[in-house]
Symmetry: C2
Subunit: 156 residues, 2 copies
């Protein structure tokens, strides 16, 4: 069974986002082995400027990167895909890898070091999404991709 | 005060989306006069094929369209904007109009009749979003646009 891991910066979320995530976690959990890792943001009082924070948060993310997995960085610099093309990509990646890691930065975004060591960079939208909402859209799209590949009527 | 109206097809949502919407409704409600209109989808047993459903849902939406307002259709056929460019557009539209209507279709999308009579077509993403999630992203982006225009640190 495919392993999907979503690694994101930030641990404080409103109650609704927890409910929303757990709904898609449950659905997606039937399709793959899913895990969500939440890494605390670097506090303002610890690292002064935002590039230092991004760097430190990048280091924290890198410590969770598994060299054997296919690494997808979520960043506005990336290219956009349709839901159908995401579904095809999941199939293509799974020919060589059995684990995919999706990386979502905090408000500062992902560090260049993290972007450089990723296999691909994916942008959900031209819009700036709050990272909690980005994670929700990602989970829904992954679920949708499985439904597309299963020819399930969820996606028409 | 600017009037914003979000007209969407579909009335059944999970609890978390209601909580999420009401959070942003509350925030956005301090920035503008906001109303959300939910129009029931056309049931399968009433209209057989999906183009008939789309047409009928389009008629229902059209009955809520206010000729004096600026009409924004949400559709993947539209162009994508950054959050910053949405903020600028809100300012530009408000020079000639005091009410904006945002139209979100059901699973079938918006009818051509509705698209034709809209002032502009906006696409949130290349991805196919479920309409409940599209409405949430729209509300968050409208709130973000007000924060950008207010130079509030919510958007950096």
């Amino acid at each position: 069974m495919l392993k999907l891991e979503i690694i994101s910066i930030g641990t404080a979320y409103p109650a609704w986002i927890k409910d929303a995530l757990s709904e898609y976690q449950k659905r997606l959990g039937n399709q793959c082995k899913l895990s969500l890792k939440e890494i605390p943001i670097v506090k303002n009082n610890k690292k002064g400027n935002s590039s230092e924070k991004k760097l430190e948060e990048g280091n924290r993310i890198e410590s969770f990167i598994d060299r054997s997995s296919y690494i997808v960085a979520m960043d506005q610099k990336g290219s956009q895909w349709t839901s159908e093309s995401l579904a095809k990509k999941l199939v293509a990646w799974s020919l060589s890898k059995s684990k995919f890691q999706f990386l979502i930065g905090g408000p500062e975004g992902l560090s260049s070091a993290v972007l450089d060591r990723s296999d691909i960079i994916w942008s959900l939208s031209k819009l700036t999404l709050p990272h909690a909402l980005a994670r929700l859209v990602l989970l829904e799209q992954l679920y949708r991709a499985f439904m597309i590949n299963n020819k399930h009527p969820y996606h028409r």
